[in-house]
């Protein structure tokens, strides 16, 4: 059985279910539980649901310490960029402790942060900065693109014994989707094939999955059959599903809202070039944001970002301008 709810509600549903299931799960952050009838506060009380001041270093650092002490904190950070204030805690404490202790301790922690709010939020609130974290061994990085995954990946993140950066896309917040009832877990490291096709593989992340699907739909009317893969988790990455698809199609287009040199697509492209080179019939094509800070002005924001047209153009390019070239 399933029910239709917005992406953001699906995330909350997972947190709520996990808090019911496990008393060690805490939820804290700025501006949560702002009214007395907040459902989290009502269900779990102010010991487990805690409002914090604007103190990211302490919020995240305390979560690390509490995790080391056996609790399972979920830290609400709202914007991925606010994690940057606490870079030491995120990058140099949370993911290092288990390893440095020779495996004697663990840090089960979820850092929940929105990203990619490209709707005029300008230079400091719009970044797609997840790849700053994929390069840190010990951190897991999750990027749900549907309401169901938002729920399932959050539940898995909370049960994971490692620090997980859970990045939800702001422009998906109110997107509705079918979400399975009750306990629902989406395993890490399992990509989803969102659309099957034989001519070209499109790997897209987060908000870009929808754009890639729309492009694939339009391409279908031209007789081009695109396979769309959503990795869902960047660390761990399901490279096998991508390689299998590329083996079939021989062509790869990567779509990522991050800037080129800070994207997940750059790493995936490198892996496919290394492990799937013999299947490739054309050079890999990346459709990313241009390497600039997101501008405030609406037309410039659009100029910098990947969109359907850019994805279609990339597909045409890897197909050599015509689907006939695949034959």
């Amino acid at each position: 059985m399933s029910h239709e709810i917005p992406y953001i509600a699906a995330i909350n549903e997972a947190i709520q279910l996990e808090m019911e299931r496990d008393e060690d799960v805490l939820y804290f952050g700025q501006n949560i539980a702002t009214t007395e009838d907040d459902p989290f506060l009502k269900a779990f009380g102010s010991d487990r649901v805690r409002v914090t001041p604007i103190s990211e270093t302490a919020e995240i650092g305390m979560a690390v310490g509490a995790a080391l002490a056996g609790l399972r904190p979920v830290v609400e950070l709202y914007m991925a960029e606010f994690m940057l204030v606490a870079m030491n805690q995120v990058v140099n404490e949370a993911p290092r402790f288990r390893y440095m202790s020779g495996g004697r301790v663990k840090v089960p922690l979820v850092l929940k942060a929105g990203y990619g709010f490209t709707a005029g939020w300008a230079g400091q609130h719009t970044g797609s900065i997840y790849s700053m974290f994929t390069g840190v061994p010990g951190l897991k990085v999750v990027l749900p693109s549907t309401a169901a995954d938002a729920k399932g990946l959050m539940a898995t993140a909370i049960r994971d014994d490692n620090p997980v950066c859970y990045f939800h896309h702001y422009l998906l917040t109110l997107e509705h989707g079918d979400v399975p009832d009750g306990e629902y877990l989406v395993p890490f490291g399992q990509a989803a094939v969102r659309r099957e096709g034989g001519d070209v593989t499109i790997v897209a992340t987060g908000f870009m999955v929808g754009k890639a699907l729309a492009a694939a739909e339009a391409l279908a009317s031209e007789g081009i059959s695109a396979e769309v893969i959503d990795p869902r988790t960047l660390v761990p990455l399901d490279l096998d599903t991508i390689l299998t698809s590329v083996e079939k199609t021989g062509r790869l287009v990567l779509v990522d809202q991050a800037t080129r040199y800070g994207s997940a697509s750059a790493a995936i492209a490198a892996d496919v070039a290394e492990h799937g080179f013999s299947s490739l019939k054309a050079p890999i094509k990346q459709v990313t944001a241009l390497d600039a800070t997101i501008p405030y002005s609406e037309p410039m924001e659009a100029f910098l970002l990947p969109d359907e047209a850019k994805i279609s153009a990339a597909v045409h390019q890897v197909l050599g301008g015509s689907p006939v070239a695949t034959a």
Partner: protein, 325 residues
Amino acid sequence: MERAVPTMDAELANRLLSTMWRIRAFEERVAQLKRTMQVHGLIHLSIGGEGVAAGVCGQLRNDDGVYSGHRAHGHAIAKGAPLTGMMAELMGRVDGLCHGLGGSMHVVDREHGMLGATGVVGGNLPMAAGDALAAKLGGTDRITVVFFGDGAVQAGHFHESVNLAALWQLPLIFVCENNGMAEFTSRAEHSPVDSVSDVVAPYGFKRATVEGSDVGAVWTGFGKFLKLARRGGGPFLLECRTHRRAGHYEGDAQEYRDELAEQEWAQRDPLARFQEQALADGLIDEPTAAEIETQARAAVEAAVEGARKSTFPTAELAAELVYAK
């Protein structure tokens, strides 16, 4: 709380009222433009904070630096930023102060000493200290002001900046607008220390708390520190108690708080309060007050018209500005 007796005369009253009306008219117009999507993005209005902006920036020179945060429109306007450049920026146009690339939260107008605004709470504090260091090293008597909300005080970088500014005796005046709220939660949920000026007590520098809706009190309180800072003193902290009239951002449903009764707002509205006082004290007459408002609204309208004439920035510009050449 310090009760300041403003040394007010007709000329100053006129000037302060004009600045406050320019800010109020600008903010009200921005709210309208946001509703019709002519201004896009994340907008924080400073209605209720006009007294602080006018009382502080009205005493600064163009070479004095101001850093602000996400709620920066009023500070920029009071510091002298042209309304058309401001409005064009908020409308994302190429003739905006930052060519439309910065927007509401990131206004820079160096000509008037508006050094910048940051959307990351408290990010401006150490940068302002850096400007004050440069002023000190440069041997000038220019000073730096940093505006921030009470929310920023709980950030580590607040304490780091205060400590260094005190240690190095920087010509920096911290101006905190304590509106008792950070986004949707109250100060009491953020800190056991109610008064921001108490937070810095151990550092031993001069600090004061004034009623931010009383522009005269802001003027006097800030003026004292400014005088000392010009002579090489510093740092100082001025806490201004204000009321955030609007939601945290434009579009905020504000379910987390009760609306202030109109009567109470009239008490805390820096503009209404000052205008009434100035009328009662005979510093200004009704027709003049009305004229000031009319002129402010006309200036804002002209700014909107001017902004509309400007085009959007080009792709070349967006690409070209990533690195300094």
